[in-house]
Symmetry: none
Subunit: 233 residues, 2 copies
DNA sequence: AATTATTGTGACAGTTTCATGACACGGATA
DNA sequence: TATCCGTGTCATGAAACTGTCACAATAATT
């Protein structure tokens, strides 16, 4: 519950003030002065939220936001932009890059905290960090670990994401294309059939533990992850 | 409950922004750049809603909307049009084509989400994704599953669509031609008698569970799916 | 009853779709 | 540099699905 927040802000006094406010409110602050520093710090464990200054040396914050959004792992980290100008134009540019909210400088600590909590509340239900359990399959996104009936299971990155997606989207058919969009990411040019192969690899890994067929083929439509067996509904 | 939304928009940044916003709000986004792409993606599993840009290469969005409204299966998918111009004229054209709502660019994420939820709420009762139950027969379009008295039943794609159509159109006679149009799709040249064969296959699958004849032959006219038996009316 | 029109049924071949193993490429690592 | 691992693609064979036909069965008509 102790959320980690990355503060990307080049002006030291402001950065320190923010950090102070955050920690006063039970958050865990990480600081970064530049885009490069920020990128270096955005890796496991991923921060729960990023406070991003609009004006940064070496490029605008939007640039960073865009690059974060392209990565499967960082895509869902919410971003709050800090901007000096309440300029409408900037807001549009920011939303292009997938900004979740804005705080206009100067801002009060209360406002900042309120916005942060609002964003976290909104994103929390679909947060990547929640551990999942489903019919004996446990997946811990933070530890990046999967076990089936308490027996450890190691998967490649793609299989891990695929399983993660399935575990959070059970009992529903997904076409290959939808799986590509959701697991590989949009704007990735990969053959449809590639999904089959990864399905196979995931199946193999799971089945190794002598289990029912969780991943079901729905001919002509796609695949479905289900706890229900073939006969019983 | 995880709704699928198809975003048809040629400009990548806008499309990605929309996708991002949708996913932040618990929706499942599918992307399409052109009308052709959109049409290719509008098949099972059908999206729950379509966000459609007004200006698209190769024809206006209205064109796509019209064609969707002509097909039995896609007819009830709600459409929200994205338009740059708040032009009154365009709105009229759109409503002709069966548009459910408008969002004028530029729009805020909040507004977009609000409109989507409003439309879904309005349309939900007849939503395609709703599971259907009829005299012990259950069909879940989302999971792509059929059961009869809680016993799983597996059907081929055509039989599934046929049953789906019947379950949503009971107590009424349909000619072979009408069935072809609705289940196979228009512009498909297939022999009338092919319907008979698929009717037979579907009957066999259902009857395997020792059931009354849901599918009734109306000599000279076609078939009818009914809960009433032959003798009782 | 005989004839005709319509529908039921089983078989079949062509096509589509999927599972599977192999393989090559590229990045990371030692 | 050599090696390993993950990944995407392909070839192949198996299985499922589909449309059509021929003929049997049934209903309507004369």
């Amino acid at each position: 519950m102790n959320r980690q927040i990355l503060v990307v802000e080049d002006e030291a006094p402001i950065r320190e003030m923010i950090t102070f406010v955050l920690e006063q409110n039970g958050f865990n602050a990480i600081e970064a002065e530049t885009i490069e520093q920020a990128q270096a710090k955005i890796k496991e464990p991923y921060p729960d939220l990023i406070l991003l200054d609009w004006m940064l040396p070496g490029g605008t914050g939007v640039k960073l936001a865009k690059s974060l959004k392209q990565n499967e792992y960082t895509r869902s980290i919410p971003i709050i932009m800090l901007t000096a100008r309440a300029d409408e134009d900037d807001k549009v540019k920011g939303f292009d890059a997938g900004i979740d909210d804005y705080v206009t400088k100067p801002f009060s600590p209360k406002e900042l905290i309120a916005r942060i909590k609002a964003v976290i509340r909104r994103v929390a239900p679909t947060a990547l960090e929640e551990a999942i359990e489903f019919h004996g399959i446990k997946l811990d996104p933070v530890a990046h670990r999967v076990s089936i009936n308490d027996k450890n299971l190691d998967l490649g990155p793609t299989e891990f994401r695929l399983l993660h997606f399935f575990l959070t989207h059970t009992e529903r058919v997904y076409s290959r294309e939808q799986l590509l969009d959701n697991v590989w990411g949009t704007n990735v040019y990969v053959e449809d059939r590639t999904v089959d192969v990864h399905i196979r690899r995931l199946r193999k890994a799971i089945a190794g533990e002598g289990h029912e067929d969780f991943i079901q083929t729905v001919r002509g439509s796609g695949y479905r992850f289900s706890g229900k067996t073939k006969d019983r509904v």
